[in-house]
């Protein structure tokens, strides 16, 4: 087993999640260091969102241990989660609250000091000032994504979980957001776990990537050198290669005769 670095912000050790006979996540171990952006990649159904949900404390692992800044999530859930935040395309904020109301409610849940000041900062940073009094539900998908990101930054988290954070954002805004997050990571020495299907983005932002397939980590390394090391022309090609291998492996397992 890989030992956690002494000051890891996120430490995931041998985590498994089973649903009956199905192993959605199978003995995953990885760490996120301060100031590091780690990309969690993999085809649909690889176990990325399941892993993120376990780190967010909304899904209990079948086995293994998750620590956030050395705090065991299973033992001190509330304390561990006060150091995290997340943005995910599949978890929009309540549409029946305004942008400002959403930020205030979540700011109070995270115990953010000088909340009004912090909300003003984030509204400006994510270009949401003119939507302050607008209901979140009437915003465009790109604006909703920016709101989710503003919410994710409320408590200046030590661990930031981003599940396809720029999925519905135009390229110019996406670049600004990537730069903003990278700047936040550098300045605050927080760690980020970032999932995306945009390999250009992953290569531009991530210091390290983990390729997940069928619940297991298959590859790990620097996104700039990893493709060459595995005979692929680009990260995109490597992704396709890994996804195909996973599909073929699954098909082979389905056709294997049952041992008696």
């Amino acid at each position: 087993m890989v030992m956690a670095p002494p000051h890891a912000i996120l430490s995931v050790e041998g985590v498994c999640k089973s649903y009956g006979a199905l192993r959605a996540v199978d003995g995953v171990t990885f760490h996120v260091a301060p100031g590091e952006i780690v990309g969690l990649l993999g085809p649909n159904g690889a176990g990325k969102t399941t892993t993120i949900n376990m780190i967010l404390g909304v899904l209990a692992p079948t086995a293994g241990r998750i620590e956030i800044e050395g705090i065991d999530l299973a033992v001190q859930r509330s304390r561990a989660l006060s150091k995290t935040n997340f943005a995910a395309v599949y978890a929009p904020l309540p549409g029946n609250l305004t942008v400002e109301q959403n930020l205030r409610v979540f700011g109070m849940l995270y115990g953010v000091p000088r909340l009004t000041e912090r909300i003003d900062e984030l509204l400006a940073a994510y270009d949401l000032g003119r939507f302050r009094k607008a209901k979140a539900g009437v915003l465009s998908s790109g604006e909703q994504t920016r709101l989710s990101l503003a919410k994710a930054m409320l408590n200046r988290p030590r661990l930031l979980l981003l599940d396809e954070p720029t999925a519905s954002i135009d390229p110019s805004s996406a670049r600004d957001i990537r730069a903003g997050i990278a700047g936040f990571v550098e300045a605050g020495h927080c760690g980020v776990l970032w999932t995306s299907h945009n390999m250009y983005e992953v290569e531009a932002v991530c210091d390290r990537v983990l390729f997940l397939s069928r619940g297991k980590i298959l590859l790990e390394g620097d996104p700039k050198t990893l493709p060459r090391e595995h005979g692929a022309a680009s990260l995109d090609d490597l992704f396709i290669q890994v996804a195909h291998e996973a599909v073929h492996e699954a098909a082979a397992m389905r056709t294997e005769p049952v041992a008696r």
Binding site: L56, A60, R79, L81, F86, N96, F106
Partner: protein, 267 residues
């Protein structure tokens, strides 16, 4: 428990109610209609009855107290349903929010809305039909407390059912007070019930309130010992309801229900 997190849950509900007449109106409109309807029924019964029995405190008083319990329950469940309808569980439960804080927020919201309803009912029943609870004296406090705690317990139980079975189970929640009412003797003494129903009555806290109300209207002193039993049972109900919600929540975390909560995915 952290006050700011409880306050956040309450604030969310206040934001939703602010500028939303469709959320504010049901807090007092239906109970007001109920008071008017039963007020006129009791007034009619007083004119046709020859026994000299005053139906206003016995019947209208009972309706008012029963509506209060129902309103407390609905206050808690409606606050919970707002999170169901906006599919907000993942956002809320991925924060440091504890289950005790979430429930405290729901209950505080229920307290607020039901107190508004109670004031509306008391004023209307007094102004239109001359109903006054002043005659009950200090016994009114335990009466309301028992109903209030029972309403909270029913509300939390309703929330547990919907969390476990999914939003489609919402229709199971609304008839709960109607199912309970025949057993607790809102309109009649429980002694007229069959034996097996009386057995159930004895473990339901509101029974002690309505039996006590009738006894006091008939001129007997406040049955403090019976009210103490009702209060103790109500506390047990609240503790059990919280334990059930916590168990369902743990199940939801174990199975991933919280993360994928919607009408389509919950079986």
């Amino acid at each position: 428990m952290t006050g700011s997190r409880v306050a956040a849950i309450v604030l969310r509900q206040l934001y939703l109610m602010r500028g939303s007449p469709q959320r504010v109106l049901p807090i007092f409109a239906w109970v007001a209609v109920d008071i008017l309807l039963w007020g006129f029924i009791t007034r009619y019964l007083n004119t046709v009855g020859h026994s000299g029995f005053n139906f206003v405190p016995a019947l209208l008083g009972a309706v008012l107290l029963w509506d209060f319990l129902t309103r407390v329950m609905q206050g808690v469940t409606m606050a919970f349903f707002e999170d169901v309808w906006s599919r907000n569980f993942l956002n809320f439960f991925a924060t440091p929010l504890r289950i005790s804080e979430y429930l405290a927020g729901l209950v505080t919201t229920g307290v607020g809305t039901s107190l508004v309803a109670l004031v509306v009912m008391l004023v209307l029943a007094w102004a239109a039909f001359g109903l006054s609870f002043a005659g009950l004296g200090p016994a009114l406090a335990p009466f309301l407390m028992v109903l209030f705690l029972t309403g909270i317990a029913l509300g939390i139980t309703g929330a547990s059912i919907v969390l476990r079975l999914g939003p489609a189970a919402e229709w199971l929640i609304w008839p709960i007070p109607t199912l309970v009412s025949p057993f607790v003797g809102v309109f009649y003494p429980v002694t007229i019930l069959p034996g097996w129903m009386q057995t159930i009555s004895r473990i339901l806290p509101p029974t002690y309130v309505f039996e006590g109300l009738r006894a006091m209207v008939a001129g007997t002193p406040a049955p403090w010992d019976r009210l103490a039993i009702g209060l103790a049972l109500a506390v047990v109900f609240v503790v059990l309801a919280c334990a059930v919600f916590a168990a369902v929540y743990r199940y939801a975390i174990r199975t991933g229900l919280i993360a994928r909560y919607s009408a389509e995915t919950v079986s």
